[in-house]
């Protein structure tokens, strides 16, 4: 089992963007049958510190990206342990995409990665997805939840249009918007059902909604 010391070592390795050390620690802890959820939680804590250092100008944008890259590598190692831990088959379908006029997908991809660890079926429509495409795919794939991602301010208008189209068509589905710069006012503007600003919060919300 992991100790507080080994946990804080992993958190620091991610926060310091030390890929080699982070992967080494993950391998060691997996070999000791450590709980994969604890490992993921530690990594997220590390990523949170990366975000704080970016906000304090200690890291540039590249620091955030590097943090995300390390996280992807880490998840590749953790995924088998995570999948064997969660029994049964897919218990939910999520339709995800970055809305029209936006091409940022760092947060969306992390959500997708985490959801796939829970054996959920994730349909990712990619970036710059028009409202009509979300609706067409929803009708075809019959997801349980629609997740609209966006970073730039233009995305808020696309989110509003997409939500509006679903409502207008009478298509009933919980709609979650996600983006690091969202606010309560933006949430109200879009007309969505839920909003999150962090990938892990998005995953928690989706798991709760699927219960």
């Amino acid at each position: 089992m992991s100790t507080m010391k080994t946990q804080s070592q992993l958190i620091s390795a991610i926060a310091d963007l030390n890929e080699e050390l982070a992967l080494k620690l993950i391998r060691e802890r997996l070999a000791e049958n450590d709980d994969p959820l604890t490992l993921i939680a530690n990594c997220q804590k590390g990523l949170q510190r990366v975000g704080e250092r970016y906000a304090q100008h200690k890291y540039y944008l590249s620091g955030l990206i590097m943090g995300g890259e390390i996280f992807y590598e880490v998840m590749e190692l953790i995924r088998p342990a995570m999948e064997s831990r969660i029994s049964g088959t897919s218990s939910g379908k999520i339709l995800l995409g970055t809305v029209e006029s936006d091409i940022h997908d760092l947060g969306k991809n992390i959500v997708k990665l985490l959801l796939s660890c829970y054996k959920l079926t994730v349909y990712d429509l990619g970036v710059d997805v028009p409202p009509e495409e979300f609706l067409r795919q929803a009708k075809e794939l019959q997801p349980d939840i629609l997740g609209l991602s966006g970073l730039v301010t233009n995305a808020y208008d696309s989110m509003r249009e997409t939500v509006g189209l679903f409502r207008q068509e009478g298509y009933q589905i919980p709609i979650v918007i996600g983006g690091s710069q969202l606010s309560r006012e933006v949430f109200q503007y879009t007309g969505a059902d839920y909003w999150v600003t962090k990938a892990d919060a998005g995953v928690k919300l989706i798991l709760r909604l699927l219960k």
Partner: protein
């Protein structure tokens, strides 16, 4: 608000934006320039903007903000005893292009566009300027991996031609950045329309006017409301 008393106006602008404003700022108007780096942390930017508004000289009646919505950093600003005037735009690209409509048009046509102006090349922490630092820190391979991630959905680098007088120099720098990172290079004609209207009026519906004692809201930036 057609009659603007320039002596009683103070301009607060981002370092990257003020570059384009300097030729037009009347000598009787006071102005304060805020660090470009603040935009990476909207909370810090909001704090700096509020302090700059609050510390305006007693005779200042109107504060002009050379900012757009800028990751919502301007949302929640209090006007205090003054009137705030802010361009109704999402960020400074619209200021450089001369209207929110033109920005919208550009954005819709190629969402994966990285915009550059002289100010950004000079002061901005763009991924392009970061590349060399990354190579030193992580080596070429990792640096390339990071840059590829940052730019993976970008297809175009658009250099906005504004009225500055060293066009050739900055144009070449923008062009070489595009080439180095395999982006299509384009030039877009800028416009000083928003800048001039902001400095001299009239403040039509392209501007948000926050009277004394009020606070800015996200909905001020969206005419179609909640």
């Amino acid at each position: 608000m057609d009659q603007v008393n320039l002596q009683r106006c103070k301009l607060i602008a981002c370092a990257a934006v003020v570059e384009e404003m300097l030729p037009f700022i009347p000598s009787c108007m006071s102005y304060e320039v805020l660090d470009f780096g603040l935009h990476t942390n909207p909370k810090s930017l909001k704090g700096a903007l509020q302090s700059a508004i609050n510390s305006s000289a007693p005779d200042i009646e109107t504060v002009l903000l050379g900012y757009g919505l800028c990751s919502q950093a301007v949302v929640g600003l209090r006007s205090g005893s003054r009137t705030l005037v802010i361009p109704r735009v999402d960020d400074c690209v619209a200021i450089f292009l001369g209207s929110a409509a033109e920005y919208h048009k550009q954005h819709r046509s190629v969402p994966g566009t990285y915009y550059l102006t002289r100010g950004w090349i000079e002061f901005g922490d763009t991924p392009f300027s970061e590349y060399d630092i990354l190579v030193k820190r992580y080596g070429e391979q990792v640096a390339q991996r990071i840059i590829n991630q940052i730019l993976k959905n970008y297809t175009r680098l658009a250099f906005i031609k504004t009225g500055n007088n060293e066009l050739e120099h900055y144009r070449e720098r923008a062009r070489s950045m595009a080439e180095r990172f395999s982006l299509r290079y384009e030039e877009i004609q800028g416009s000083d329309a928003v800048i001039k209207k902001m400095l001299f009026g009239p403040w039509n519906d392209e501007f948000i006017i926050i009277p004394p004692g009020k606070t800015t809201s996200f909905f001020d930036f969206r005419k179609n409301g909640p």
